[in-house]
Subunit: 421 residues, 2 copies
């Protein structure tokens, strides 16, 4: 124990306490997006094979180079016919050469029916398909034996998938900024594209701070806690498509933190620290950023109010607070949406509506972010209280619950916005 | 063009058409889970460092080895006090040695206040924290100068986070089968665990089939289509935590497909094929599975009705239909839930309720799975029609919309179950 800050640097005793005008959530989100604007530049795109582009954001509009389907084809296994050949009470038609998928059939002669497989080209002249189940006999004849089949009347266009009915060549298939999931990559493949222009994955240097913080797996001395922020944020960042460089735990010595940032921040697109941004006497991140264009401010949000934002040696920098729930909320409210907006990846959280299972109170001037579990019926149960240290409660949650600034209480049953984690 | 199947093997002309009794979605889901039961055995677990366990399923219950918080600590920067020292109208207390986070303070003497930082140990004797903002002066004094501070009355327990208030040592922190996301991994880190027992990631051999199917990036001859199933399913499987082995495209020659499966299926936990399971004359997967214990059947579902299930040379096998939307629906309805149920990973889709933006019709006996885009207000817009070839419509969707068997029409505004993709 000492009455001096542990590493001989002057404590931040003149930090203002609660006097900074709180910045709104929207304003801080905009500031984070502005800080990271450089991630969306032409030089930061790359062409990737489809198999490597999962979770990336599309860097340019993609126009369909071909139509989908590329040609009119059968939706069923059955017989391709000229619908005008079959009167209202059905007809017997001569069976001609079958059309397997992948072949290019000759034109269909009037009065005949061509066995056709799902996906196969509709022969010229044919305009409908009778499913095999509706034919008599209801199975295909042995090839080469000829024969006839009895078919019911069928309207033109029946079971025909027309060329371009999904998308026509030249139309925009995907917009720049689309996050590439399985369906989007599948569409690009269907269009014949083997690679795709995407934004490069940003690299983030992640540093947790605090003399009280110990790596998991080591013994826990009295007064210390295990570092959960590093694991939590690394996982959240990886899920969001970031390349994460872990710099371990910094002590509360600002000079050590500066040295660490300079040694490991090279080439990073972003530095994120946790802890040391608040109003205490020993705020290592505030102290380490002395002389750098970094603002430490308070966002009107609970948890996650204290935030740092600026650049360290010209590398964009975000200082998150030290509690794990505050870290995750900071990531979800500011960094993740900025990446979604700039790079199209990760996909933005979809705002859903849910009904509160219980009443809650909220500090009026602040946007409160609670954790909850969304139930199948559309109600949301709050997990844990307001406090930002409740990791176990967080681990039992699947949504963030938003209580906007200005709201001081909500009754059970009230509708709230939730974001699925 | 030929009237024979392209590779000289007898076509499956005697396949029954529409006569197999359709199996319910629930029954087929149970059959898929039973097929894959072997994935959940003790020999298939491994210990992984937290940083490598993202998205895996927990293989055993985890009890908390320590309490969280491990000790009573301060929720605020401020002064630790004995609440009984401060009468209703406040008191001046002598300021003693500060308590930074990570230190182990001596007991607090009556009549004194210890500057304390967020997360720091509450000194013995102290039972409350007064936030610095409520103190006079409202900033910390220079260390070593002594002095007094004026503090308002504060109830016992104020701004104290008690040991074990999040979770007590010995309690179950996470249940076996939990999918490990950022919050769950963060909790394990907070508990001091450096590694975690998880189920091994299954390896799947993925084969698309069809003479009509061409790799993206190559020229597209007439009558052919690009393979989108491979890209689509590979991405969906990777998202679900599977290790995917792509075997490219098989022709419609069953002997070639068998050879490919034998060459590349070794060591795989599962074989998935697409196409060739329906009722056409040339169904390569049906033919290739001759002699193997594989059922080809029809599930009462649209799209994705035709399915194959069994083992090929003792490797579990699933035969999905050939249309891309059918493939994704098959994956989402059968394979993904089976993995979630057996291994805890991927996380199960949360069933949500949404209101239809438009009316729809559905084939009564079948469970229909439509694609839609869920709007922030809680309505869902259908994207594309019922047809299973609409990749562009699928790429514009963010949910699957469920219309249960027995329902033939739903009005606009009707509530439906949706699964977020």
């Amino acid at each position: 124990m000492t009455s001096h800050p542990p590493h001989g640097h002057p404590p931040d005793v003149h930090a203002r306490h609660g006097r900074e005008p709180a910045r709104s959530v929207a304003d801080h989100a905009a500031a984070v997006a502005a800080l990271l604007q450089g991630l969306r530049t032409a030089g930061r795109t790359e062409m990737l094979p489809l198999g490597q582009a999962l979770g990336r954001g599309l860097a340019a509009d993609v126009a369909a180079p071909v139509s989908l389907p590329p040609f009119a084809n059968s939706q069923m296994d059955g017989y391709a016919v000229r619908s005008s050949d079959i009167p209202g009470d059905g007809a017997d038609l001569g069976v001609v050469t079958p059309v397997p998928a992948g072949s290019t059939p000759p034109a269909l002669k009037p009065g005949t029916a061509a066995p056709i497989m799902t996906g196969a080209v509709i022969p010229a002249g044919a305009d409908a398909v009778v499913p095999i189940e509706r034919a008599v006999p209801d199975h295909f004849l042995q090839p080469g034996q000829g024969g006839t089949v009895t078919l019911p009347a069928t309207g033109p266009g029946t079971y025909v998938r027309y060329a371009g009915s999904d998308i026509a060549a030249g139309e925009r298939a995907l917009a720049a900024g689309t996050c590439l999931g399985p369906a989007q990559l599948g569409l690009l493949a269907a269009l014949g594209m083997a690679e795709v222009p995407v934004y490069r994955a940003p690299t983030v240097l992640l540093v947790t701070t605090g003399d009280e913080v110990v790596e998991p797996g080591r013994p826990l001395p009295p007064g210390k806690i295990y570092d959960s922020n590093g694991t939590l944020l690394e996982a959240a960042m990886k899920q969001a498509g970031l390349t994460v460089r872990r710099a371990g735990i910094s002590t509360d010595n600002p000079e050590e933190l500066r040295t660490l940032l300079r040694a490991q921040g090279r080439g990073a697109d972003l530095i994120v620290t946790t802890g040391g941004v608040s109003k205490g006497a020993y705020e290592v991140v505030r102290q380490a950023m002395a002389g750098q264009p970094v603002d430490f401010l308070h966002v009107a949000m609970q948890p996650g109010g204290p935030q740092g934002l600026g650049t360290f040696d010209d590398v964009p920098f975000l200082g998150f607070p030290g509690n794990p729930v505050s870290c995750l909320v900071s990531f979800e409210m500011f960094l993740r949406p900025a990446l979604s907006g700039l790079l199209g990846a990760p996909a933005a959280r979809l705002p859903l509506r849910a009904r509160l299972a219980h009443a809650l109170t909220s500090p009026g001037p602040k946007h409160q972010v609670r954790r909850g579990s969304l139930q199948p019926g559309g109600t949301v149960r709050l997990e844990g209280g307001e406090s930002s240290h409740l990791m176990h409660a967080l681990a039992g949650s699947n949504v963030l619950v938003h209580v906007p600034a200005g709201v001081t209480e909500l009754a059970a049953g009230a509708e709230v916005e939730v974001w699925m984690l």
